[in-house]
C-alpha cells in the first residue's frame, strides 16, 4: 500500500522536483517501486503467516510488515484449504485495518438511540457503565441471566465470546447467523445423510449447482477446484438459477428456474431416477432407511418431469436428461449442497430431497461425491460452568419445530420488539454482527433495539447496529490479534493459526481482553446477586463461613474469571502440544499451517500448483477410516456448530451411516416426514409484480466490508437486476432510479436491465445501503435488501425466508 501524497504538498515540492528529478521522487516515497527497494535497505520486511478474516473461509496469508506498517498480504501456499490464493477481499484486508472510520476507543451514547451522538470514554468507564446497568437489570429480574441476550456473526474469536456468555454468564438467549444463513441446508443434510460434508469438486464428474454461486460467493477449496475443471476438463457443470451468474457462464448447461420451485425440480429428478430404476441399487440396499416408503411416495405423488415443468419453467426433457446424466456419472456426481439458504418455506425439505437424490447415485462418503473427510484433533479445556436456577430457557423456543442453540433471529427479534416474550429481555450484546442490515425487516430490528435497556456492541466499524448501542467497545481487526487455534477437517486436513501481525491500534482490544475485562467487573457484583436471588445456591451455602463460601463459588464455576488462560498464545499452545509436540508447535508458528508429515508430503508441482497429501493419504471416506473416524469430522467450517449437529442427530436417533428417507419424529411436530411439494406454501407472483431475490458477490462479504475503499472501487453501489424486456416495457433504462416496494418497506436503487435474469424476478446484492453516518464511504450507497424482505420464518428451524417477498417496481 502506498500512502498517497496530497496534491498540495506535491505542488509545493514541484519546483525542486524539476531540478533534482529522480532523486526528489525517490526520497519522497512517491513511487512504490522505488520505495520497496529503499525500505528494504533500511529495515528488512518482516513476514508473519496468519489467517484472513475478510469472509468465512480463513485463507492462509503472509503479511509483509515494514516499519510497523502492513504493506501487503500475500497468499500462503501451505494451507490445503485455501490453496495459494487470496481473493479481492483478502487482498484488501489492509484497508480494513487502516480504515479511517474504524472504532478507535470506547464510546458511550450521548444522544438518543440511533442519532449517532457518542462521547469518548475510557475502557474502565465503559465497563463500569455496563456493570451498573447489568447489576440493576439482573437484580430486578431476580438473577434470570437470560434477560440479557447476545448475538454474534461468524468468526474465529466467536467461541471466546460465546462461551463466556453461555457457560459463565449463563444466558440461554444466543442468536447467531445460522437462521439468516445456512441453517436449513446444514441441518437438512445432517438429518438425512448424517452430515453436511463437502462436495469433492476436485474429482466429481457431474455437478448440479442450484442457486449456489461459487464464482461470486467464493468458498475454499470448492471455487478453486471447480473452475479449473469446467469447460470440458473433467467436470460437467449444470447451473440452475433464476440469474445467469458468473458461475453459470462456466456451465455446460444453464437452466433458468422460477424462484422458489427448486423442490419440484429435485422431486422430478428423483421421480425419473426411481421410475426408471437408474439409482445405485447396491448402495441403496445397504445404506437407505425406508427407501420403499420414499419410492412409493414419489411415484404416488406423480412428480413427473411434465408436472415439474409447469411449476419450475424447466422443460421436462431437460429434467429427464439431467437425471440420466447425473446417474450415468454417479457415484462421482454431486447435487451441490449450497450454503446461504432458506429461499422458501419448504427449504428444509428441498435440502433433504437434494441429499437423498445425491445418495441415490451412491455419491456419499466417496471420492468425487459428498465427502466427510477427517479432522486433526486438538485438546480442549473444560469450562467449569455454573448452574443458575433462575436462568430461563430461550424466549422463542416454540417458534418452530426445532429451535436449536443458535436460535431464530426473526422470531427472537419480533418477540422482543413486540414485547410478547415469556419474560422481559432487557439487554443485548452484539459481537461482529450487524442485524440492522442483516435481518429481514429493518424497521422491526430498530424497534427491538429501542425496547432494550442495555445494548453493547463490540465491533471494528461504526455500523448501523453500532449506532443503536449504549456502549460501543472497539475490537481490533484480525491482523492485530491472535485467535483460538483452528483445525480444518476435510479430504486434506490441517491445523492453522491466526497470529498477531501488528499490535492493536488506537485503544482497541481483542475480544478475549474485552471479555476478560467484563468478567472482572461483573464477577463479584453478579455473585452477590446470585446469592440474593438463587434459592438453590442459598440452600447449598446456608451457614457457610466466608472461606467455605469462596471455595463453593470456585468449585461450582461461579468465578467468572476462571475460564481464560493468561493469553491466547499460551491457550493455543496448550491445546496443540499435547497431541503434536513442541517441534510441531514451532513449525506451526513459523509457517502458519501444520499437518503431520507436512515436510514430506508438501510438494510444488509448478508455479501455480501444489500437492498437500499424496493421493493415498487423502481422507475421502470415513467408512474406510474406521476407528479413526471422529464425530467432529462432519463439520468443516466455522459457520457450523458441531455441538448443535450432534444434538440434532441424537434427538432423531439417526442410525449411523444410514440415509434417512423418512423422519417420523418430525411428523409428530407437524412437519412432512418426507420431502413433499405443497402448492399452498408456494408464493405465486401476481401479474405485473416481481419476486425479490438477494445474493452475494466476490467483492464484498455481507455488510462487513462495505466501507473498504479498495473494494468500493470495484463496485461503488448495488444495482437492481431486472429482465431487460420487462424493463423496456416500463421504460426503465440502465442507471435509472427505481423504487422497489414490498409490504414492509420501500427502497430506491439504480436499475440494471439485463437478459441475465428471468422475468418477474428482481435481484440486488446484499450488503449495501448503510445509513450510519460513521461510515464515510459506505453511507447510503445503493439499497439494503432487508428493508424490503418480509420477516417470515420457515416452520422447521425458524430460519428467515429470503426469497418469497413480492415487490412492486416503479420508475422514479
Amino acid at each position: 500500500m502506498k500512502v498517497e501524497i496530497s496534491r498540495r504538498r506535491f505542488l509545493q515540492g514541484s519546483v525542486a522536483l524539476s531540478v533534482v528529478g529522480g532523486t526528489a521522487l525517490g526520497t519522497s516515497n512517491i513511487l512504490a517501486d522505488t520505495k520497496t527497494s529503499e525500505d528494504n535497505k533500511i529495515r528488512p520486511t518482516k513476514k508473519t503467516p496468519t489467517l484472513c478474516e475478510m469472509c468465512v473461509n480463513k485463507c492462509a496469508l503472509i503479511a509483509q510488515v515494514r516499519n510497523g506498517v502492513i504493506k501487503k498480504l500475500d497468499p500462503n501456499p501451505l494451507f490445503p484449504k485455501s490453496k495459494n490464493m487470496l481473493c479481492a477481499r483478502g487482498d484488501a484486508g489492509i484497508h480494513a485495518l487502516y480504515d479511517p472510520d474504524r472504532l478507535k476507543y470506547p464510546l458511550i451514547r450521548a444522544g438518543k438511540r440511533g442519532d449517532g451522538k457518542y462521547r469518548r470514554a475510557s475502557w474502565d468507564e465503559a465497563f463500569e457503565y455496563i456493570k451498573e446497568k447489568m447489576v440493576k437489570i439482573l437484580d430486578e429480574e431476580k438473577d434470570n441471566r437470560s434477560c440479557i441476550g447476545y448475538c454474534t456473526g461468524e468468526g474465529m474469536a466467536e467461541p471466546t465470546y460465546k462461551e463466556f456468555m453461555a457457560e459463565k454468564f449463563g444466558s440461554s438467549n444466543f442468536i447467531n447467523h445460522a437462521s439468516i444463513c445456512l441453517q436449513t441446508a446444514i441441518s437438512g443434510y445432517a438429518l438425512t445423510i448424517g452430515g453436511y460434508g463437502m462436495a469433492d469438486l476436485d474429482n466429481a464428474k457431474y455437478i448440479i449447482m442450484a442457486g449456489a454461486n461459487r464464482a461470486e460467493a467464493i468458498l475454499t477449496p470448492d471455487t478453486m477446484d471447480l473452475f479449473k475443471r469446467t469447460r470440458g476438463r473433467g467436470a460437467k457443470l449444470v447451473v440452475v438459477d433464476p440469474r445467469f451468474t458468473n458461475t453459470a457462464i462456466h456451465a455446460d448447461t444453464y437452466v433458468p428456474i422460477k424462484v422458489g420451485t427448486d423442490l419440484a425440480f429435485v422431486l422430478a429428478l428423483t421421480y425419473v431416477v426411481i421410475k426408471n430404476r437408474l439409482y445405485n441399487r447396491e448402495f441403496v440396499e445397504k445404506n437407505f432407511d425406508n427407501f420403499n416408503v420414499y419410492k412409493l411416495h414419489i411415484l404416488q405423488q406423480n412428480y413427473t418431469p411434465q408436472w415439474a415443468e409447469k411449476i419450475t419453467g424447466v422443460p421436462a426433457a431437460t429434467i429427464e436428461k439431467i437425471a440420466y446424466d447425473f446417474m450415468a456419472n454417479a457415484p462421482e456426481s454431486v447435487y451441490y449442497q449450497g450454503r446461504r439458504s432458506t429461499w422458501a418455506a419448504t427449504d428444509f425439505q428441498l435440502r433433504r430431497a437434494q441429499a437423498i437424490f445425491s445418495a441415490l447415485g451412491g455419491g456419499i462418503d466417496i471420492k468425487g461425491g459428498i465427502v466427510f473427510g477427517r479432522k486433526l484433533p486438538l485438546d480442549k479445556e473444560e469450562i467449569n460452568s455454573p448452574i443458575y436456577a433462575n436462568a430461563q430457557e430461550r424466549i422463542e423456543k416454540n417458534a418452530a419445530a426445532i429451535i436449536g442453540s443458535s436460535g431464530s433471529w426473526i422470531a427472537w427479534r419480533n418477540m422482543v420488539a413486540q414485547g410478547n416474550a415469556p419474560y422481559p429481555v432487557r439487554g443485548l450484546f452484539v459481537y461482529k454482527q450487524n442485524p440492522m442490515l442483516s435481518v429481514p425487516n429493518t424497521k422491526k430490528t430498530k424497534e427491538m433495539f429501542e425496547k432494550l435497556d442495555l445494548v453493547v456492541v463490540i465491533d471494528t466499524m461504526p455500523s448501523d447496529t453500532a449506532m443503536m448501542a449504549d456502549v460501543i467497545l472497539p475490537e481490533c481487526t484480525y491482523l492485530e490479534r491472535e485467535d483460538p487455534i483452528k483445525s480444518f477437517g476435510g479430504v486434506e486436513p490441517a491445523i492453522v493459526l491466526r497470529q498477531k501481525v501488528i499490535n492493536p491500534m488506537y485503544e482497541t482490544k481483542p475480544v478475549l481482553e474485552i471479555m476478560k475485562g467484563l468478567a472482572k467487573v461483573l464477577n463479584d457484583p453478579l455473585w452477590k446477586n446470585t446469592l440474593k436471588h438463587d434459592e438453590d445456591v442459598q440452600d447449598d451455602t446456608k451457614d457457610m463461613k466466608p472461606d467455605e463460601l469462596e471455595k463453593y463459588r470456585k468449585e461450582n464455576g461461579f468465578d467468572l474469571e476462571d475460564m481464560y488462560g493468561a493469553n491466547q498464545e499460551e491457550m493455543n499452545k496448550k491445546s496443540f502440544v499435547g497431541k503434536y509436540g513442541e517441534e510441531a508447535w514451532k513449525e506451526l508458528r513459523s509457517k502458519g499451517v501444520f499437518y503431520p508429515h507436512m515436510k514430506e508430503y508438501f510438494k510444488q508441482i509448478d508455479k501455480n500448483t501444489f500437492e498437500y497429501y499424496p493421493e493415498n493419504k487423502k481422507s475421502y471416506s470415513i467408512d474406510k477410516l474406521g476407528e479413526e473416524a471422529d464425530p467432529d469430522a462432519y463439520i468443516h467450517d466455522t459457520c457450523i456448530n458441531p455441538k448443535e449437529i450432534s444434538e440434532l442427530r441424537k434427538f432423531f436417533k439417526t442410525p449411523s451411516k444410514k440415509i434417512e428417507c423418512y423422519l417420523g419424529n418430525l411428523k409428530k411436530k407437524g412437519i412432512d416426514a418426507m420431502p413433499t411439494w405443497r402448492e399452498e406454501s408456494y408464493v405465486k407472483i401476481p401479474k405485473g409484480k416481481f419476486k425479490f431475490i438477494t445474493g452475494r458477490h466476490a467483492q464484498f462479504t455481507q455488510d462487513a466490508t462495505q466501507n473498504n475503499i479498495m473494494l468500493l472501487e470495484l463496485m461503488k453501489e448495488n444495482y437492481a437486476w431486472i429482465n431487460d424486456k420487462e424493463a423496456e416495457k416500463r421504460g426503465i433504462k440502465f442507471g435509472d432510479e427505481i423504487e422497489v416496494t414490498s409490504k414492509i418497506g420501500s427502497v430506491r436503487i439504480k436499475a440494471y436491465p439485463t437478459p441475465k435474469i428471468i422475468p418477474q424476478t428482481l435481484f440486488y446484492i446484499h450488503g449495501f445501503g448503510a445509513k450510519s453516518t460513521g461510515l464515510t464511504f459506505a453511507h447510503r450507497n445503493g439499497a439494503s435488501d432487508n428493508e424490503i424482505i418480509e420477516d417470515r420464518i420457515e416452520p422447521v428451524f425458524g430460519s428467515a425466508i429470503m426469497h418469497d417477498t413480492i415487490v412492486d417496481v416503479r420508475k422514479v
Binding site: M1, E4, I30, M85, A88, I94, A698
Partner: protein
C-alpha cells in the same frame, strides 16, 4: 531473458482479486479508472440465451512496443527481460504513449503527474518468481515466465497448449499468450473467427527475431 505471461482465460470468474492485489502490491492510484490490470467483459445474448466472456488483461509488454517508440523523452523504456516501464521523472504527460498503445494499458497517475502501467511486478521477480496477480488468483488464470528458458513452466505450457494474441494485427509482438480452451463451443464463442491460433514451434522464431531487433534497447534503464 524475455518475460511473458500465459493466460488460461477460461478459468476466470471475474472475482477481481488480481486487480486488488496489483493495487496493493504496486501502490497504484485509487480510482475505478486507474487500473494496471483488468478483466474485460463482453456480454450479450444469442437467441435469448445470455452469454458472458471474460478476458483478464494488462500491458502486453510488446517486443516491438509502439509506446516506447513514440515517447519523446524516453520516459517509456524497456528494462531487462523486455519489461516496458515508465520513468515518471521523465514523463511530460504528452499522452502519446496512451494513444499509441493498442491495448489501452496506460493511464495517468494524478498523484505523480505521470503515466502509469503494469510493470510485471519486476521488483518481485527475484524473490517470488511471479507477479502479484498470478500469486493471488483463486483459479490460477496466469502463468508468468521467461520465453528464453526452455525449462520454465511457461514454455512447458506453451509447448503443450495452443494460444492466440489480442489484436495481433497491430504487429506489436505482444507477450500475453491467451491459451486456447479445450472446449470447442467455448472456443467458438470466445475467440473471433479471424483470430490466428498459434503453436510454440511456429511462433518461437518470430518472437526471437523480433527480440533480436529491439533487445539492444532492453538494458537502457
Amino acid at each position: 531473458m524475455n518475460y511473458a505471461m500465459a493466460l488460461d482465460y477460461q478459468n476466470c470468474i471475474n472475482c477481481k482479486a488480481c486487480e486488488v492485489a496489483c493495487k496493493e502490491e504496486n501502490g497504484v492510484q485509487l480510482g475505478a479508472d486507474k487500473q494496471r490490470i483488468w478483466v474485460g467483459v463482453t456480454e450479450g445474448s444469442i437467441f435469448g440465451h445470455p452469454f458472458v466472456n471474460l478476458y483478464p488483461s494488462q500491458c502486453n509488454h510488446c517486443i516491438d512496443a509502439p509506446c516506447v517508440s513514440v515517447c519523446p523523452t524516453h520516459a517509456s523504456h524497456y528494462i531487462d527481460g523486455g519489461i516496458v516501464m515508465v520513468d515518471p521523472t521523465k514523463c511530460i504527460l504528452c499522452k502519446g504513449c496512451m494513444e499509441a498503445c493498442p491495448y489501452d494499458a496506460r493511464f495517468v497517475d494524478d498523484t505523480i503527474f505521470a503515466v502509469d502501467k503494469c510493470t510485471f511486478c519486476h521488483h518481485r521477480i527475484d524473490e517470488y518468481g511471479t507477479t502479484a496477480c498470478q500469486a493471488t488468483c483463486p483459479t490460477k488464470v496466469r502463468l508468468f515466465g521467461d520465453l528464453d528458458d526452455e525449462n520454465c513452466d511457461l514454455v512447458k505450457l506453451l509447448k503443450k497448449r495452443k494460444f492466440f494474441f489480442l489484436k495481433e494485427g497491430e504487429k506489436t509482438v505482444p507477450k500475453l499468450f491467451y491459451l486456447v480452451p479445450e472446449d470447442e463451443n467455448f472456443l467458438l464463442r470466445s475467440v473471433g473467427k479471424d483470430t490466428k491460433i498459434h503453436t510454440w514451434d511456429e511462433i518461437k522464431p518470430i518472437y526471437d527475431e523480433a527480440k533480436a531487433k529491439r533487445s539492444k534497447e532492453w538494458k537502457r534503464s
